[in-house]
């Protein structure tokens, strides 16, 4: 339904506004759907304290991972890099990527920075974040990501790439690794083209 409304909103902005927000101002209505309602502090790869809400205003690709992950996470990062590559180059600089670790104990900012460098990502647009275990669990629940700590130190998890619109609402998602990304890329391009 939300996707349908979003599609209509793109085609007929005035009509969608009338249907979706009969009385309240738009930010009051949409606020209930935003991931950015999740409070709490995160630390990025530069050691800077950030909140998810700080990403408001730009389309964001968000996922969860952990640095010592041997198989899935490198693939996940490469899938996200592909999303980035598939978005038209002139729009790309406005896209943000947020990766939150399941493993705040081991993933220090220095380790996260190292990982970003190893994957040669644009660190001005990519944020590798750590937070407390409670916040990890809540964010995973919001993104529909399942995970569990194995006895051997590994973390079993589902790989989900989520696109958030400028207000932090889920606009598209890719469930699993090496899946087709057309829908998410198209949605990201639409969001990036609709410059504020």
């Amino acid at each position: 339904m939300r996707m349908f409304v979003a599609a209509i909103a793109f085609l007929f902005p005035a009509l969608a506004y009338a249907q979706e927000h009969p009385v309240l101002p738009s930010q009051e209505v949409s606020a209930g759907d935003s991931i950015y309602l999740l409070e709490g502090e995160f630390t990025d790869q530069h050691g800077k304290t950030v909140r998810l809400k700080d990403f408001e205003g730009k389309p964001v690709v968000v996922s969860m991972f952990y640095a010592s992950c041997p198989h899935a996470c490198p693939l996940l990062i490469s899938d996200i890099k592909k999303v980035e590559r598939d978005v038209p180059e002139k729009l790309r600089r406005d896209l943000r990527v947020v990766l939150v670790t399941f493993d705040p104990d081991r993933d220090t900012p220095a380790k996260l920075r190292e990982l970003g460098e190893a994957h040669r990502v644009d660190m001005s647009r990519w944020s590798f974040l750590r937070t407390d275990p409670d916040r990890v669990r809540e964010l995973a629940a919001l993104l529909g990501i399942r995970y569990r700590f194995g006895k051997d130190g590994s973390i079993g998890h589902s790989s989900v790439i989520t696109l958030l619109d400028r207000e932090g609402r889920i606009a598209a998602r890719i469930d699993g690794l090496r899946q087709p990304n057309h829908d998410l890329v198209r949605e990201a391009t639409t969001l990036l083209e609709a410059r504020k």
């Binding site: 209930g32 629940a141 529909g144 699993g176 090496r178």
Partner: protein
Amino acid sequence: MRRLDLTILTALLGVSLLGGRAVAEEGTEGMVLVPAGVHEPLYPPSPEEARIAVAAFHLDRTPVTNAEFLAFVRENPKWRRGSAAEIFVGSGYLSHWSGPLELGELAPENAPVVRVSWFAARAYCHWKGKRLPTENEWEYAAAASATAPDGKRDPAFVATLLQWYARPSPKVLPPVGQGTPNYWGIHDLHGLIWEWVDDFGSTMVTPDSREDGDPDVLQFCGAAAINAGDKGDYAGFMRYAFRSSLNGSYSIGTLGFRCAK
């Protein structure tokens, strides 16, 4: 009653051994101390995890009631129906209450609160200085029959559970704490409602899933059931399958919670 006394004695003994004082830990009124033990998960994630040590923990004697949850939303306006953000509570949140601050006839004071999301349940427990139990803790406590710490292989106990699963839930739920408690002195782990756990659904995620791009492997419980530890535990299978289908913002009429500490 004798068993209850024994439970209290065990609790006091546990505390006195830990802290050298024969007083219950602060903030654990209405809770039962479940002593440390070994839990055999229905879905051992690896052969080494067929038996998991569970540390001693406190668990609410009964599920959280409507009256208790009402006190929470009175003090925390952002969790009232109509005010709580949809991303945290879905669309059916407390919809059986007659108003944001009124219970009404479908939600008797002493009946367990249902139609509460995982986020709301978690917020309630944190407000109480507690937390949601983990899936292992909940399952460990719930394995107890009325007479033994582990009733999973007791045919009579298993049959009772299955009978409950086969019976539709009444429109108005009965009060909590009725009937016989289990071996630890805990009520209603079975037979009344389903309950949230902090790490709902994570059991279905096996380490193998890291390497598998097929999302169905993670979502479909049947595949994982092949590895189930105890093939006769259908009731357990239903709980794991149910929990794996949940989403943190779901609010449904048969799902409530209790807190741990």
